[in-house]
């Protein structure tokens, strides 16, 4: 079974600082990691490979530094990695990104399954996976929480839906986006790291993939981020001070008045 896994390199978000004026994240000194939700896609793919054999190609679109994320995926157990990197791709929205990645997948060729993460923790759209399925005209199952059955021609999966789980039977090749519930991502191994270091990551440019320039980057993106607003905190606390032990009763009266005023008692 040949599997393709698109991943994204995102800023490590445990300690994110925002530039309030520009509305963007301060990226200086921030480590980048594989999008944490893509790790579940990687683990799912690796488990399928361990069971059925085949090859996993991991693919990412981003600056040359995204090679690091791809190599980490190889260290976990993926076989090949491809980086889509070109200045022309800069500023892509989910439409342009899914177009570019889908064309790269076409170029890579023979595959049975594409597995993507649920969404990226930075953009938070969850549209690129389904977008790739649309460009490639593949059957799609989102929010997959379990792979029930796989054979050469078809796949049975369980999707996490609001009411519970939905079981879907679908033909291969297909595209899945997976949720956390599906697996527990493994850590990269030392052997994997060494293999990753020796793995050459080919870089696909717009020219190499023979892409329609109208569909690329900022120019090819029908959506634009115009402004990022910070939510205003509308809840606020009121502190009733006692000013020492003698003020306690007075403070309690104030609190009761406040609760009455808000019709809470």
């Amino acid at each position: 079974m040949n599997i393709i896994i698109p991943i994204k390199q995102v800023p490590e978000t445990s300690n994110v600082k925002m530039d309030k004026e520009k509305g963007t994240m301060i990226r200086d000194g921030v480590q980048t990691v594989i999008n944490p939700l893509d790790l579940y896609a990687l683990e799912t793919g690796i488990q399928l490979k361990e069971k059925f054999g085949g090859k996993i190609t991991v693919i990412s679109m981003g600056p040359p530094s995204a090679v690091k994320a791809l190599k980490e995926a190889v260290a976990m157990g993926c076989d090949d990695a491809v980086l889509l990197s070109d200045k022309k791709f800069a500023g892509s929205d989910t439409w342009a990104t899914s177009y570019t990645i889908s064309q790269a997948i076409k170029k890579i060729g023979h595959y049975d399954l594409i597995i993507a993460g649920e969404r990226a923790t930075d953009g938070d759209t969850g549209q690129v996976g389904p977008g790739i399925a649309a460009w490639l005209d593949l059957p799609l199952a989102t929010y997959v929480s379990k792979i029930v059955k796989v054979d050469e021609k078809e796949l049975v999966v369980e999707r996490l839906v609001e009411e519970g789980y939905q079981k879907l039977q679908m033909p291969l090749p297909a595209l899945l986006t997976v949720v956390k519930e599906i697996s527990n991502p493994r850590l990269p191994t030392l052997r994997g790291k060494k293999r990753a270091r020796a793995t050459e990551v080919p870089i696909f440019t717009a020219e190499k993939m023979d892409l329609d320039p109208e569909f690329l980057g900022l120019k090819g993106s029908p959506t634009k981020v115009l402004k990022i607003d910070f939510p205003t905190v509308t809840r606020g606390g009121t502190l009733v001070k006692t000013g020492g032990e003698e003020g306690v009763e007075e403070a309690i009266d104030k609190l009761i008045d406040f609760l009455k005023e808000k019709e809470l008692v």
Partner: protein, 473 residues
Amino acid sequence: MKYNPVTKEVLDELKSILGEKNVFTDEEKMETYSHDETDVKVYGHMPEVVITPTTAQQIAEVVKLANREIIPITPRGAGSGLSGGAIPVYGGILLSVEKMNKVVELDYANMLFVAESGIITNEVNELVKEKGLFFAGYPMSLETCYLGGNIAENAGGGKAIKYGVTGRHIMGVELVTPTGEIVELGGKLAKDVTGYDLKQLIVGSEGTLGIVTKATVKLTGLPTAKSNLLVLFKTPKEAIDVVPEIMAGGLIPTSIEFMDRLSVQTSCEYLNETLPYQDCGAMLLIEMDGTDQDEVELNAEKIGDKCMDNGAIEVYVADNHTTQERIWSVRRNIAEAFKVASPVQVIEDIVVPISTIPDLIPELEKISIKYDVQVPCYGHAGDGNIHAHLVKNPNSTMEHWHEIEPKALRELYAATDKLGGKISGEHGIGLKRKAYMKELINPAELELMKAIKRAWDPNNIMNPGKIFDMEDM
């Protein structure tokens, strides 16, 4: 030991020295000051009064008063100690340095800082981070503990193999002696052999030789790159045997943490984590740091290779914050996980020569079987400091536990002693271990310690009842 009670007159005098708001006797407020992180039911004791001085001069006056009236003083930092060192066993005055928490000087030209002893250790690190520096001698509890407590206990922690324990970084202290003098010991000098090194005598003296009010502390270049290895071994012996191999290789890790299977399994179950512990008997968590990520990763790889050459089943690599946090949280949550599984336990921190750790493991197994207790074993393998817990079998009675606990501890300490080890590597003797220390220490050495205590604290008012008892005073 006979001490006088804190009378109304003494309270009034304390208030006149310190001001009303820095003296309190309200039971509810004092309760917090009656224990540290040891079991409050076993070791807790209420003070008669709690004071929160703000200057060394105030402390000196209080100490003089205590000598005049023969009232014990127990100094206290953040109360995160694990040996009962800050517990006022004889009541008296509990002196908390919590209000003495200012940075006095950031002297980057000499790579040091001067701060009052009540500062939270981590606050110092936050402050000097922008200059690319840090205080490297901090313990695992850095987010709550105070600098003064670190000095009193000579705290260790997870990074001691490379950076050493607290004492290595303390250049000077301002001390109020047990007789109420204010002295400066050491200072900003990198070298100083002008007489005895009294500053180092204070480090680790558990508040029995005075109250540190200020400290001059060395700063170290902050490492910016890190790589971690989680190495799985079939047996604890194989894991420990690789430690001297690593150390002899010349690449000194920041930490080499050992976790036996029981520790990993309990912590993983507690965290809902899925590290593949099923087939392994023990794990090592090895951290390398430096300033160049590629170089650090390469060095970590060399150590990983050494582990593989010495029988490791698998080596996992964590090069980024997310994966590093994942494996470190397993190590950090072991104690907490056991508390959930069986809340009755004793946490020990014996230390043995590194090469003898494999000989210690079968001894722990013997104790575990003989007394029907779980003995998870984990800790700082790189410096021989092992945290062996004795965890009560949840199905046994408390009476049974009280009966076996001292016996099992004595056997643990005897095994440690036989291997050339000591009963505490970093938590201190305090209240909790003094009976055992007396049994194991050379009497001549103990007498030298007592002679020092007698000379410094003739009335035995400074944190009495800790480390050893002064029966003849």
